[in-house]
Amino acid sequence: MANTTETAFVRKEMLGAKEPPLTETGIVKWARENLFSGWLNSILTVLSILFVYWVLAHILPWMLGGIWDASSLTECRAIRDEIYGPDASVACWAVLTERWNQLLFGFYPSEAYWRPVLALVLFGVAVTPVLFSGIPRVFYALTAVAPFICYWLLWGGTIWGPIFVALGFVLGWIAFGVVSKAAGSLAGTIAAIIVPVLYWLFLDAPITGALGAAMPIGLEYIPSKDFGGFMLAFIIGITGIILSLPLGVLLALGRQSDLFIINKTSVIFIEVIRGVPLIVWLFTASLLLNYFLPPGTNFDLMLRVIIMVTLFAAAYMAEVIRGGLAALPKGQYEGADSLGLDYWQSMRLIILPQALKISIPGIVNTFIGLFKDTTLVVFIGLLDPIGLSNAIRATTDWNGVYWELFIFIGLLFFICCFSMSRYSQFLERKLRTDHR
């Protein structure tokens, strides 16, 4: 090999990876693929962007330029004329600065605002063990007493009222334990219902009255007519949501039951309640009941509305859960039976956990619907946020304010409903076991 020539160049190491072309990476690639992947799509994208710009160009200056400090619409307009000139269109948020407390709390006395706020915080703490796993079990005790504390915080009055009403539940529990050992679980269940009811009817009021007179510990009593705004929507909505779920489960099980009377009662209840619009039930609660109750009975309108809303939501809930029950294969029921579980055990340990998991989207859907339906109480004269917006508009100061109030109300409702929706999606992900 004499005539070896020098090798011109041999690469010893690999070339570094080149930057991908500008059009194949990052935002440009994404935009090309998702926004401009053809002439038709490009045109549509441009048109959409123009539309969004057009909408924002009208709304944003109106919202951001809004006036926050004025005592009436006239004053708002005067300030606007000064700043922007007479033809500008800006929001008058001043109505919110002046009336936000009414939209949130209704006519609740302002020195007692801490009470509903504390009740809401307490409610938030009390539901965490139910909503999220991994919370110490002691918190369930708080969950059990929270309804009574919340009631006492909201309405006030003597502290003995809620305590001795709660005692009824304890009595029922004791009665169940004692009687079911002696005479079987059916007799135990009946005793667990009868004993507290007798106690509430005959013993509760005298004891509370006597103790209230002897040891007057309590908060200032605030009547239901002072409740309003979002507080009212929250109380009706949350109570309805909490009570309608167990009631709905019972109704759904009742509808599947082989026992004739239970089955037919559940079917009739569900179909009658579901077959009539909510607004009709609200009118029934507010108008018709008055004629049939003995004169002089003061059956709180808000309580009547809560009962109606709960029953209405329970009927829908029952059907949603029945869908979940129907989706379970027969083998699950048979498996539970073959393990020797009795009816309640099989429901509690095998059937319901699966059925409820399947029904989560439907259940939350019903919750959201129920929460928004609380605005219907405006038609029977309760001052919910919509009702209060009418009342605020009826003062000479704010007559003519329109969108500002509705935007505020819509925003608050959106926050609540969106949170519920996100939580349900979190729950679905957490409970997903099918490795899809």
Binding site: Q102, F107, K225, F283, L287, Y291, G381, T395, N399
Partner: protein, 338 residues
């Protein structure tokens, strides 16, 4: 069988209502507060302020009655009622007095078994149009689109008016006054029709009230007044004569400014009888001698109340018109206190 059960239940309900109707005065005194039904909000007539205190022309009647009966104009539980719930609330005893711009009609008085105790505002249905439309009379509105609140008597009055004048219109149904304002300003309708007081209040809330005119035609009679249940004439008398006392006070020149001075005694026997320094009018009603004095002091006489809530110096700016004293060419004419 079912029918008889239902009828039986209705009878019981009727009896119960009758029992509830008796001795309203005692109930109110025992409760220490008057349950007064008002609207959920109507500009000038009833609305809560930022602190939750109700104020307005109808509210003034509630306060006057509370002052006469209980001695405290603030001892009123205001029960907001809607058009649908107001009559049941009164019939079932939930409220003692309904002061909610309710038109006095035959069927409400006779068939629904209520007792209108007087008229505190003479209203009537009118029309508002943009000035640019160039219309000066409602009879020129042929072919116009009209914003109208559904389910009210105004809807029927409108149909009658256009048929009588043989002209056509296209209704734009709307639900509330606030919605009507938006629709009308957005040009969804040429004309907005409702009670004249409502038109004035709506117009006053516009950016440029001068661009809109209220047409001169008033096409219906809407005598608005407070009402009570049938079956307790004594309570009805108290409400009626409290309202009359406010009207008579204006006629006789009793104002909240000079009432203390006048109640020391005057040469006018009727003033003395109203203010309780002469005669026993209060005792005849089952009240004390100073009932009317307190009622007048609650919010002033009729004229003062009117000026303060809906009169020409308020943003609503209603003229007295039909609601002036009979001596000034209006319709207010109270029977004598004798």
């Amino acid at each position: 069988m079912k029918k008889s059960v239902f009828l039986g239940a209705l009878t019981v309900a009727g009896l119960a209502a009758g029992v509830a109707g008796a001795a309203t005065l005692d109930d109110v005194k025992a409760r220490g507060a008057l349950n007064c039904g008002v609207t959920t909000g109507l500009v000038g007539f009833a609305a809560p302020d930022a602190n939750g205190n109700w104020d307005g022309f109808d509210v003034g009647v509630c306060r006057a009655v509370a002052a006469a009966v209980l001695g405290d104009p603030m001892a009123v539980n205001f029960v907001p009622t809607t058009g649908q719930t107001r009559f049941t609330a009164l019939a079932s005893g939930e409220i003692d007095l309904l002061a909610r711009n309710t038109t006095w009609t035959f069927s409400r008085d006779v068939d629904l078994k209520f007792e209108f105790v007087g008229i505190n505002y003479y209203d009537g249905q009118g029309f508002m149009v943009p000035k640019s439309l160039g219309v000066s009379s409602a009879k020129e509105l042929d072919g116009a689109t009209v914003c109208i609140q559904t389910g009210t008597t105004t809807e029927l009055n409108l149909a009658d008016f256009f048929r009588v004048n043989n002209i056509s219109y296209e209704p734009v149904p709307i639900e509330t006054n606030a919605e009507a304002q938006q629709q009308y300003l957005a040009g969804a309708c040429d004309v907005y029709t409702t009670d004249a007081s409502g038109l004035a209040a709506t117009r006053a809330s516009f950016e440029n009230p001068g661009d809109h005119v209220v047409l001169p035609e008033i096409i219906s009679k809407e005598p608005l007044g407070p009402l009570v249940r049938h079956g307790d004439p004594e309570w009805g008398d108290i409400a009626r004569w409290t309202l009359n006392a406010l009207i008579a006070a204006e006629e006789l020149g009793i104002t909240s400014a000079n009432i203390e001075e006048l109640s020391a005694g005057t040469n006018n026997p009727e003033i003395n009888r109203i203010l309780g320094t002469e005669g026993e009018l209060g005792a005849m009603l089952g009240l004390d001698a100073e009932w009317a004095k307190r009622a007048i002091m609650a919010g002033g006489n009729y004229g003062e109340l009117f000026e303060k809530t809906i009169g020409e110096n308020t943003p609503i700016g209603l003229a007295r018109g039909l609601n002036a004293q009979w001596t000034d060419g209006g319709l207010l004419y109270t029977p004598p206190f004798r």
